[in-house]
């Protein structure tokens, strides 16, 4: 087992290196750069010399090989460089936003599980009835409805409801407060984006729960359980569901790794200052040192999650042994 984990970790290196190379060169194909965007923003007269000086300061004029070595070497020295836009260390920029995004990701996952597992079970048990069709339509709609539009509709709904109830429009707070300081204020801010992201996230998990459970319900031991007269509820919960959850856990974990993609838009809609918004801003500012670090963060989360899922799989299902 340990051998397997070590082997997998070693196999991560080429993937990460490939991703680093890809992102690095992709971003350097940029026609403009952060200096042009920044100096254009000041509105004053800018000549080539000023732009060149700015490029010198930020290291854009350095040879690509040096820039790449600085980029990858940063992972060994712990210095990930500074944002080209604000000049702050990247670790700091990510650090101040990490808590919000992580909390949002966890809340969205909880929302997704709370929707997916009960609905998936009902859908499988009532297969091919109108309930099944309703659940499946609901879950396909989750993939079809853009989460940013769902977010806008949630804000609209809150506005209309609060207007009718209290006579004035209420909007979720914009400034982030730690859940430890003000749990209610924190919840009031983050529950809405969590629902908008979580609904979309639940769609795939619902369908997976349904199909995994359907598969298991045809197994001999389920028939045996029914034949010995167990209550249907026990058959479903104790016999079938336990064995059906494995692929569901996998899909939830893999989706978790991709959650950052969902956060990119949701944070924009709800005006939350998280990692997703930082990513969009860094792309807009052509702050490519920051962009490439954020992309690497996403890729790292993805490969790590995959590894954890595989290890978890073996732990949950004793029939699977890696060698």
């Amino acid at each position: 087992m340990y051998q397997y984990i070590v082997k997998r970790m070693l196999l991560m290196i080429p993937t990460l290196l490939g991703a680093a190379l890809l992102v690095f060169f992709l971003l350097r194909l940029l026609p403009g750069d952060v200096c042009e965007v920044r100096l254009a923003g000041t509105g004053m007269y800018v000549d080539d010399e000023m732009i060149n000086q700015c490029r010198d300061e930020l290291g854009i004029n350095d040879p690509l090989s040096k820039q790449f070595i600085d980029f990858v070497g940063g992972y060994f020295t712990g210095d990930l460089g500074n944002s080209m836009w604000t000049g702050q260390p990247i670790l700091h920029e990510i650090g101040i936003r990490f808590q919000l995004s992580l909390q949002l990701a966890i809340m969205a996952t909880v929302v997704a599980i709370a929707i997916a597992i009960p609905l998936g079970i009902i859908s499988a048990v009532k297969q091919n009835t109108w309930i099944d069709y309703a659940v499946r339509t609901f879950s396909i709609a989750g993939i079809a409805i853009p989460s940013f539009w769902l977010g806008i509709m949630i804000i609209l709904g809150i506005l209309v409801v609060s207007q009718n109830l209290f006579g004035e429009g209420w909007m979720p707070p914009i400034n982030y407060v730690s859940p430890l300081e003000d749990p209610l204020g924190n919840l009031a801010q983050l529950i809405w984006p969590a629902v908008a992201t979580g609904y979309r996230y639940s769609a795939v998990a619902t369908r997976m729960t349904r199909s995994a459970l359907l598969e298991v319900l045809h197994e001999d031991y389920v028939r045996t359980a029914r034949a010995k007269g167990l209550v249907e509820k026990v058959v479903i919960n104790r016999h079938a569901l336990k064995n059906a959850l494995l692929p569901v856990v996998t899909i939830i974990a893999i989706e978790f790794a991709f959650l950052i993609g969902g956060l990119v838009v949701t944070e924009q809609v709800f005006n939350l200052n998280g990692i997703g918004k930082l990513f969009v801003d860094s792309v807009g500012n052509q702050d490519f040192v920051l962009t490439q670090q954020l992309v690497m963060l996403v890729v790292l989360v993805f490969v790590m999650t995959n590894l954890v899922v595989d290890v978890f799989y073996a732990w949950l299902d004793p029939r699977i042994r890696y060698s």
Partner: protein, 298 residues
Amino acid sequence: MATPQTFVDTTELDEFRKPFLTSLGSLCRRQPLGAAGAGIVLAMIFTAIFASVLTPYDPELNALAHMLEAPSGQFWMGTDEFGRDILTRIFYGSRTALTIGFTAAIIGATAGLVLGVASAYFGGIFDLIVQRIVDVFIAFPLIIMALAVVATLGPGTENVIIAITIPFIPQCARVVRSSALAIREIPYVDAARALGYSNARIILRHMAPNVMAPYLIMLTTFVGQAILLEAVLSYLGMGVQDPTPAWGLMLKGGAEEFLESAPWVSIFPGIAISLAVFGFNLFGDALRDVLDPRLRAR
């Protein structure tokens, strides 16, 4: 557990022998959701083609006299902050969405098909290298990859198509490869090689047609995903640019600003996006059930 297929299922073949309308009717009965999806897709294609006949208004021309008018007999879905009729922009927007959706999906899936089959056919070091590259691409969430490409190329319709196509190629290649691996072992491939056909001919004429099922399933899924991705990019201001009518773009800026006073500006384009993606997903699911016997609904 997937039960092994021990007999040839001929129900599918019987379908073809029936007159077209009868089989259409039976398709609706057996795949009601798929038929609904196909209906949505056809309706969308219809509005895209006949947009100029269906509406008397211009999608791009400002009409400041009619700014932010509520839905009425004259403007069925109201007007936006430039006085443009929203229904008109939705009709023309389906043109943009379908153009980007189909172009990105067809190029992405086809390039993925060729790459996937070639990877399976040649095997060895070529396969290994291609698969490691695919690994790298697949580790990026779709939107992150697309944003990174747009960051390089800049916004605009063509660049959006490229940004959406690139992440599709490795996804399709991965799926097609696993089907093609099985096909490579079938003797007719060896036979074709023995006849002296070129590698390109074997890949394109002999192997590719036999992985059409996963290809078509991926293709349909991709169209829906591309429409959604285009909407997201346009919403973030990095996709299609004003004044081109695009659904995601219609939700940007004004829609949020006038959320309270003019909610119709943000409601209808979102419904259009959802319906379109919904239609393609339903259709793709039905296609999967029909084409892939292993996944056929029990």
